[in-house]
Amino acid sequence: MAASDEGARGRSGSTRRQFLLGGAAAGFGAVAALGAEHVLDRPGAAAQDAPVPVHGTETVPFHGVHQAGITTDAQAYATFVALDLHDDVDREALGRLMRILSDDAARLTQGEAALADTEPELAVAPARLTVTFGFGPRFVERARGAAPSWLHPLPAFEIDRLEPGFSDGDLLLQVTADDQLTVSHATRMLLKDARGFADVRWTQRGFRRAHGSVAPGTTMRNLFGQVDGTANPVPGTADFDEVVWVTEGWMAGGTSAVVRRIHMDLDEWDTVGRAGREQSVGRTQATGAPLTGTREHDEPDFAARTDAGFSVIPEFSHLRRARGVDEGRHDRIFRRGYNYDDAPSGDHVSDAGLIFACFQADVDEQFTPMQRRLAELDLLNRWTTPIGSSVFAIPPGCEPGGFVGDTLLS
């Protein structure tokens, strides 16, 4: 996936803003030239030396068949925001809203300031910024559109302890980049333009490894130390397309997102030995290999038995339950989650977990059966608690001149 994603990226080069700043006043140009000479004169910075590589100028295209931020190799930082529409926002207003937000995203993701951006200086390092929009049930209802059959809250699961402050919403913004400052600025710009139409319902901030810490495409680790997301289909393959993309109606080229906040009890997890941890998930903690293999992507051997006759990958393990091995049903989703680590309270030393985010063509057919199995039996449930849950329709991408949601709102 890293290779295909690299191909889609470009270097934004000098932005139009930089051009304007340079061109607006000749005096500034002279100062800049002096500055450049000064830098080049420094010892060890000879003119022929390659400049220090920076990745802040890397961009991901905004326009396309699909929205960015799904197949994009996951950036280091994410802010998920769910908005509640004001009562008076109708179909016509939704069109205005999405036109503005799409324009903001189109500019910011390419390293250009948004229109009326009061901090244009913060826009110059997009750092692979993507903005992905999702519509909740009420958004589609207000748009008087045909809601996908799966666009509704998930059924209640026994293990859930959902908090309204982390659940549901009418409009999702998934803002992700390799630079937290970029994410903050883009999120604020979008929210400034949305506030005439909607209020913030919840915000969730997450992180992965920083850009450059590990090779692109490395499966992320969660705060339990586990490799998390090994079974993902690979973007760019027919398999991925089948798992993720909707093919019909205004959603053609879109997908669905499930965003669940899973609290992880790190303090209790500390008390579990390594063998117990590996049994509960069905994979080794060191490499993420299934307990029957040696490498992360080895195919699990669910039939393998110990000398004592027990399954090597236990019946209660997360891997086995998620795969539906013992039910003969193998559901697939594409996970793109982030860790969270908030300030602890009381005598806890952590308030941490996972912003579980996944994409699939049909929530009811793919996600829910898997989640039902995990809710019934998964040893990991002893240390994990779902505290937030939302489902959104992720509309297709848009072409230049269009806007995200135009297949629904035009």
Binding site: L20, R96, L115, A116, F197, G401
Partner: protein, 186 residues
């Protein structure tokens, strides 16, 4: 960068393109300019980027953008009009006698030297829309006509955005002397 085209910039490009053609075939100014070897009007030479208007329910508001003179002669914008407001004044921001920044009409219009870009922005030069016909709502588009000193004209389309800045006071038009463009969302 070439792949990014917003609704606004597309509209602007289209407007600029069509008016450019119209300008070539008509103006007297074009004939005058032939002496320099480049038959152009100000409308031919100008291009406008990133135009936007601050949303407002009533009264006054302001329009902004970046006006580039791609021609070889200085151009002057002498007037602007729109169906969205009864009147538009060309304003600049300057310190008044008390040292406070305030906005006043520019005598003689906005001058854009050849090859230069005039940036209309909050706290600087701007189009002052007065006596709005209807509320101007975020996400709407407002079409303006700019008239140049050579009588050529160009149209542009601006996106309306919510904006909490640009609340400086204006002088000269209000008997009370203290109103501003701030709007209250009701």
């Amino acid at each position: 960068m070439t792949t990014r085209r917003t609704t606004t910039t597309l509209a602007l490009l289209l407007a600029a393109g069509s008016l450019g053609l119209a300008g070539c075939s008509t103006d007297d100014a074009a004939a005058e300019a032939t002496s320099t070897g480049t038959p152009t009007t100000a409308a031919d030479a100008v291009s406008i980027q990133d135009a936007w208007v601050k949303a407002a329910d009533e009264g006054m508001t302001a329009g902004f953008g970046e006006i580039t003179n791609g021609g070889e002669d200085e151009l002057t914008i002498v007037a602007a009009s729109t169906g969205a407001a009864a009147m538009i004044e060309l304003h600049e921001t300057a310190a008044d006698s008390s040292g406070e920044m305030s906005m006043t009409e520019v005598e003689g219009g906005f001058v854009v030297p050849a090859g230069d870009t005039l940036i209309l922005e909050p706290g600087g030069h701007h189009l002052m829309l007065m006596d709005l016909a209807d509320p101007i709502q975020a996400g709407d588009e407002v079409t303006f006509t700019l008239t140049f000193a050579d009588d050529s004209t160009t149209e542009l389309t601006a996106t309306v955005k919510d904006f909490t800045g640009a609340e400086e006071s204006y002088e000269g038009d209000d008997p009370d002397g203290d109103h501003d463009t701030e709007h209250e969302d009701s």
